[in-house]
Symmetry: D2
Subunit: 268 residues, 4 copies
Amino acid sequence: MEQRRKRGWTLSVDVGGIAIGGSRFVTIAGPCAVEDRRGLFAVARGVRRAGAAILRGGAFKPRTNPRSFQGLGKEGLILLRECRRRYGLPIVTEVMDIREIDLVAEYADMLQIGSRNMQNFPLLREIGRSGRPALLKRGMAATLEEFVGAAEYILAEGNRNLVLCERGIRTFETATRGTLDICAVPILKSRLRCPVIVDPSHAAGQRWLVPYLAHAAVAAGADGIIVEVHQDPAKALCDGPQALTLPGFRRMMATIRDMLPIVRKQPA
Amino acid sequence: MEQRRKRGWTLSVDVGGIAIGGSRFVTIAGPCAVEDRRGLFAVARGVRRAGAAILRGGAFKPRTNPRSFQGLGKEGLILLRECRRRYGLPIVTEVMDIREIDLVAEYADMLQIGSRNMQNFPLLREIGRSGRPALLKRGMAATLEEFVGAAEYILAEGNRNLVLCERGIRTFETATRGTLDICAVPILKSRLRCPVIVDPSHAAGQRWLVPYLAHAAVAAGADGIIVEVHQDPAKALCDGPQALTLPGFRRMMATIRDMLPIVRKQPA
Amino acid sequence: MEQRRKRGWTLSVDVGGIAIGGSRFVTIAGPCAVEDRRGLFAVARGVRRAGAAILRGGAFKPRTNPRSFQGLGKEGLILLRECRRRYGLPIVTEVMDIREIDLVAEYADMLQIGSRNMQNFPLLREIGRSGRPALLKRGMAATLEEFVGAAEYILAEGNRNLVLCERGIRTFETATRGTLDICAVPILKSRLRCPVIVDPSHAAGQRWLVPYLAHAAVAAGADGIIVEVHQDPAKALCDGPQALTLPGFRRMMATIRDMLPIVRKQPA
Amino acid sequence: MEQRRKRGWTLSVDVGGIAIGGSRFVTIAGPCAVEDRRGLFAVARGVRRAGAAILRGGAFKPRTNPRSFQGLGKEGLILLRECRRRYGLPIVTEVMDIREIDLVAEYADMLQIGSRNMQNFPLLREIGRSGRPALLKRGMAATLEEFVGAAEYILAEGNRNLVLCERGIRTFETATRGTLDICAVPILKSRLRCPVIVDPSHAAGQRWLVPYLAHAAVAAGADGIIVEVHQDPAKALCDGPQALTLPGFRRMMATIRDMLPIVRKQPA
């Protein structure tokens, strides 16, 4: 079957000892933004127990408005590193500013390029040159053709440690924050040999819908998910409504574990 | 879990002895258009063997251009009825014209309202009044709010035999024909008690992508799928590129059968 | 200039003695729905004085939800005919139901096919066969290619009395009800010889934006506009927020009159 | 009228002696990319004669694919400066890389932030800090709310020399490159006191449609346009199909001059 042949070609990307791609399904989880030590550690502990392999958390947050909470910056990076030491989870966090690549690379195992920067070509090039594992999120209105083009800016610098992330596109529908483009998974995998993961949180925009999208992603052959989890979503400084609670995350993971054998994958 | 509680509420719709909804997963399959006896029968036999419970096939085709093939009309209905007799598959076919409801209802077990007619309110009302099982497809640019409103035109006439179908919405992405809105499944099920099925063929627009969307639909809790299958897609008069071959359909069904226990469903 | 050459080819459509197309710019104005005699007559008198040549007003209203006000039906048609007699304004009103074409044609000078019915092909064909002047509105998510295809269903029946209407398409932007696609005007005029008018009211969705779109339509070479005006928008049963007041309509018309010589048109 | 009152509030931005905003209508014209001295000078001379007040031209080009022509870089800036000296036209050119702001600011009168960088917040902040006149283009799928948020990143640094540019949004329609959102002009002017101009070239994507959008922009109260002109579009290295020829530009400008008194503006 076309599907299986293509899967076989996906390269594996090593992120702090965790393999993304190949026959592995990776779960990256954590809060939208790093807010404080206590909360971050609670989430890290909880998601690790439930099966997450990598911790996500924003130190530099791209916000629509300059008056919104912009993240803890370097302080957030320090907390993420501490967390990695304590729980053994590799870290992925966003770089927004080309001048901060070195700083972020010092603390994180994988550099995330957010949707708003998908076509920030100087940033793509420098992250390409850094050789560090990179997670490139699809722009909100980027065609798959443009997404592949953006990926090529990184690959062209010789950096093959690239993971792509479908996170929902902007459409007329307002019941959800984005519309997850499930076909992006097989199409991207047929175009490039990079692993492709899915962000169900930003697509759904609402907690209760996240598991449906996560399960759909598994079924469509995604190499993993990146999902927002918060120890107390009602108090989150950013994107609370779409953050899973720890119990919700555990339930979602249980179903994912049941599904993996059907798509011939194992947890990373 | 929210998901399971909600599923429990879905009403079951009986279509020629096949139950849609509840704990059943229905597969509706067949050609885009009824073209001739030989082809129709070959597809019917093939999809029944592979696990389809209902046969689809268009006798009246809504086409963008008046010069395109418009379907065989009544002759197509007669072939569908013959096919039902021979293979025991209930029939679903589209009604485009309010004046033809009685005619179509004489031959078909379920009346389909196509995307272009989702807000053809007189048609919705009359199909509501007919009391016949109805399959309402989401309009290409209809919000879920509008889809629910359209469903209410049928329900308001006292017809509860209604199944909704998500079939991909129109977005900027041109790599696929539509963008399947996976969240439509749980959202619609939380709003109305009607079963919700998915049409992966029109969303994908390309054969090789159809199974990915079908599997995603199962994972997201859909009550079934409606999928285009053709005995020789290269010769199809309509939508050939998105029609599965019979072997492709069988492979897709094998994976679906593996998945159903995980979503706690059985084949209809 | 390409623009002027193409304009020269537009056929003229006669609606109750008013020519649409050619070197004429037509203003069609009136309430969203016919509500009562007093209000309708006040609007008719007001818009005629301000330069409108045709009266619009809905007797049958397509509403998203079956519980919303659905129009006065035949009673509304009777009021429209009275209004025509008193003020000498030809009438355009929507037909939603193929079974009501004859009824509406008895009262109205021009039959409107609404956005939701742009691909209601039986309705298009019957209106084509009726030979009556028709106003076809673009579907909310119809490509121009599909719009041309829909127009061809009417033209193919030998009815050349067709006017097309761009009314804003559905996009991700929520600040307005639709996004007016200005390029639709020249593109449609290059594809078909039908006059093309613009509906600034449904695109804007807010009163204060309507004149901007109307003026843009004039500048882009539209053959006219169809605009909602209400004697007391705060009390309108339907679409009040986008209805111009009579004074607002007069101001808009004054600017349009100033612009017409620049696009080499005269008021119809 | 609301429209006129709001216009009165627009602040004026000085770009190399040319006032944008207030009662002035500015025309910015030039090639997509600076390609060579001879071509650039031919375009500059031609557009100045036809009424352009500012020269545009890309030295650093953001391209979807890393293998496409990326602009002449500093060499392009040098040519632009020469051109300014010879023809007295202020220069606007794009900055893509935060590390090149000083370099570009040395050569250009106004710094353009392209659509792909509308939410490149570090770039916005640094351009805000530079105090230099800035031209911020709307992102392809940015809501007006997000566009205003992006503008506020610049304004928050104390830089009021900001001009906003509507350039067409991404929609399902494929007949044009973007869909120009005419309502963006009045809505942005009601939200911020910045001048708002329109880019008809990127919205249309085809030469023959550009004048229609430019005229619509004038009619809707835009403070100017930025338009691509090439001395020989068939040989352009970038965006040739949407570049006006010099004769086409002159014809468009003649109509604009006729329209300006109606919107109570004068050429800048």
